[in-house]
Amino acid sequence: MKVLVVDDSKVMRLIVMRTLRQAGFACDVTEAVDGKQALEVIRTAPPDLVLSDWNMPEMTGIELLETLRAEGSPVKVGFVTTEGTAQMRTRATAAGALFLIAKPFTAEHFKAALGSVF
């Protein structure tokens, strides 16, 4: 499975990739530093799953998802973000996100959220 990890923090991208391994998910991972770069990657070579931060410069995660859906892209998207309020979960679901994992997270959180995707 091809996974695109989108986060403006290099450290967090590393932690997300490490957690994917710890959760037992074997995948080919590519990285993007914000929604804008992710959009270019997805348009060129759509991954099977996008794991995106929410709050990023240039283009936020929710703007990325809304743009993808407006373009008709069916790519699977989940959020990994510091903010996990009910309002954000509702907005994420309404926009077509599969899940929202709040930071800090564990491998168990990844297993629970991504189990049905892999």
Binding site: K10, N55, T82
Partner: protein, 166 residues
């Protein structure tokens, strides 16, 4: 209308929770909680929490060696293992501050439902906060020490300060 004490309480509880979950360390309050108390901690990261209620800056600052220690724990590195650059330490401390800010937002959401988080800003040196309330709380994580900083001004005051000069 919230007071700075509400934000400090939320910040300390959120920091202890993130330390337990993300760093797997027990954090405890060592000192602080006084409005305007001076502190000296040369490295760290701040995250803005803006709302109709107030303009808050939350920060985690510490000696650089302690910031390296926090970053090593977050990244699962060994003691003394070198970083590629100082930027990696800043990035890691920024992410810790970011996680705590998210937890503060969740805790304050009932009282202040329109909080918007900004992006982490990493700093070297002590910031000079003028015209705002400031509370610093020192926390210990094993041998490491860090300061939880909360700066707060009313949103009205923040708007006045940002008005362009005539």
């Amino acid at each position: 209308m919230t007071g700075i004490g509400d934000w400090v309480d939320a910040a300390v509880v959120a920091t202890v929770a993130v330390a337990a979950q993300a760093l797997e360390r027990e954090a405890s309050v060592l000192a602080g909680g006084e409005v305007g108390a001076p502190f000296d901690a040369p490295f760290g990261a701040y995250v803005p929490l803006s709302s109709s209620d107030s303009a808050v800056q939350f920060g985690i600052v510490a000696e650089f060696s302690d910031c390296e220690g926090l970053a090593r724990i977050l990244l699962g590195m060994g003691d003394g293992e070198p970083f590629e650059s100082e930027g990696d330490v800043a990035d890691a401390v920024g992410e810790i501050a970011n996680m705590v800010a998210g937890a503060i937002k969740t805790r304050m959401n009932a009282e202040v439902p329109d909080i918007v988080l900004g992006l982490p800003l990493c700093v070297r040196g002590t910031i000079q906060a003028q015209g705002v309330e400031q509370v610093v709380t020192e926390l210990g994580l094993g041998a490491m020490r860090m300061h939880v900083v909360v700066l707060r001004s009313s949103t009205h005051a923040a708007k006045v300060r940002s008005r362009p000069a005539l």
